[in-house]
Symmetry: C2
């Protein structure tokens, strides 16, 4: 029987240099592509974020606010194209390493409803997985039936596709080691949470909600909020630091790795 | 009332240098983008071909034959990515000129049935046209329910989208002046057909059928075969030489231009 798919999210802060506009982190992309290659997971889908490509343009044109005035139209166009640039670089790198892959452009097939994806036809994605072609999606600007257009974040895609595809697990590759008991950037006593269950995660969410580190698609709080529906379906999630070499490889191989494992029913620690 | 859309096809031999692998015709692309800009058509959809990007890779991996062996999988991936490269260049040029545009990736939303598109959801394309964002599509490799994968030619997309969108007209920009009474490359007495009706076109098709100039998506014969369903729906088509400056501009503006006008019901000449 074919194995259930693994969903790998590569954060925008991992594949780009967040502080420099339109600057990919080529070294990280090349390394992560090799980690994907050597892990050789049978059924893998990759989703990446926008980082310094999508976010600054989306912000400049206030895309998340929806269509308010015609000057935003060019911004819609530019935000998407920025994502295309980043996505193309990732796909080129995968293909160079001999990995069969194809982008699935979210804005080609999703119209959101007030920023939320109600429906996505997964026939093509499923068929690609069957052919062992890695589908790659990304956070994108999309048309929205209520507000004209919106942003469909990579994190929303992760959870949604994991559920629709009956994924085995989600691997979130971000730029910190995982979830902490509090914000490690401001609290020196913060410690890494290695295992957490759904109930604990929901409790934690309120604490994280107090942090003041938002980005246009939500910061860590947004990520967790998006993850919850998938965890509720029994899908396991692992958060690892993808900036550090071999963590994504280890997570893909199912090996022990520093990070946060989130399961629906783990015993409360 | 909003005007009916115009479908502009830019042939692969126009936007690329056919004889050199992966070589865009940047000068032609820049010029055509400016022609599109200055014509300023209210509702425009653009489709481009593959030329030296898609065709050689598709041919090498025998994509039109469908999925026969696993070695083709990498070719599927590479053919699509070659089209992405060309498409990105065209979109970047449009955006640079301040034209709002967005690619709609055919392989993201179409599965063919033995090489033929049975269904395509045009909701997103229609909505982009309403927002005066130019949707750009291209000949692409797509999954196929019968043969695994296939090529969905730009010409098939042209006719199909023209019908679904209730287009006003189709402008085909190719590398010759239009349809001829016989092949001008081998017959010096060949003369340009300036007007032709559906019945005459159908008759002509058999003559063109004898020509031996096929490409992976069909040569001139293929183009005409694809056009017929749209002409039957009363959509006018104009074939112009897009290699020569201002022809596309004139056609877009509805001005007199050297080329072939195809209408369903024109009187027999």
């Amino acid at each position: 029987m074919r194995s259930k798919p693994t969903i790998l999210k590569l954060g925008g802060s991992v594949v780009t240099k967040k502080e420099k506009l339109f600057t990919p982190n080529k070294r990280a992309i090349t390394r992560l592509v090799k980690e994907i290659k050597f892990a050789s997971v049978e059924s893998l889908l990759v989703i990446h974020g926008g980082g310094s490509f999508g976010h600054p343009v989306a912000k400049k044109y206030r895309i998340t606010e929806g269509f308010k005035d015609p000057s935003q139209i060019m911004g819609f166009s530019k935000t998407h194209q920025a994502m295309v640039s980043l996505n193309k670089l990732i796909l080129d790198t995968l293909i160079q390493e001999g990995i069969p892959t194809m982008t699935i452009q979210p804005s080609s097939l999703v119209i959101t409803d007030n920023g939320r994806m109600q429906h996505m036809d997964i026939k093509i994605v499923s068929r690609l997985l069957e052919l062992e072609i890695i589908p790659v999606l990304y956070g994108d600007v999309v048309l929205d039936s209520v507000q004209g257009f919106s942003i469909l974040s990579g994190d929303q895609l992760v959870s949604s596709l994991a559920i629709k595809l009956g994924a085995d697990r989600i691997i979130l590759g971000i730029d910190v080691d995982g979830l902490y008991t509090s914000d490690p950037k401001i609290d020196p006593s913060a410690s890494l949470i290695q295992h957490i269950n759904l109930q604990e995660l929901k409790n934690l969410q309120y604490k994280i909600g107090e942090a003041k580190v938002p980005d246009v698609t939500g910061g860590m709080r947004g990520k967790i909020l998006e993850l919850i529906p998938a965890i509720e379906q029994g899908i396991k999630a692992i958060i690892v630091n993808a900036v550090k070499p071999n963590n994504v490889y280890r997570a893909l191989k199912g090996e022990k790795v520093i990070g946060t494992i989130i399961k629906k029913g783990d015993k409360v620690a």
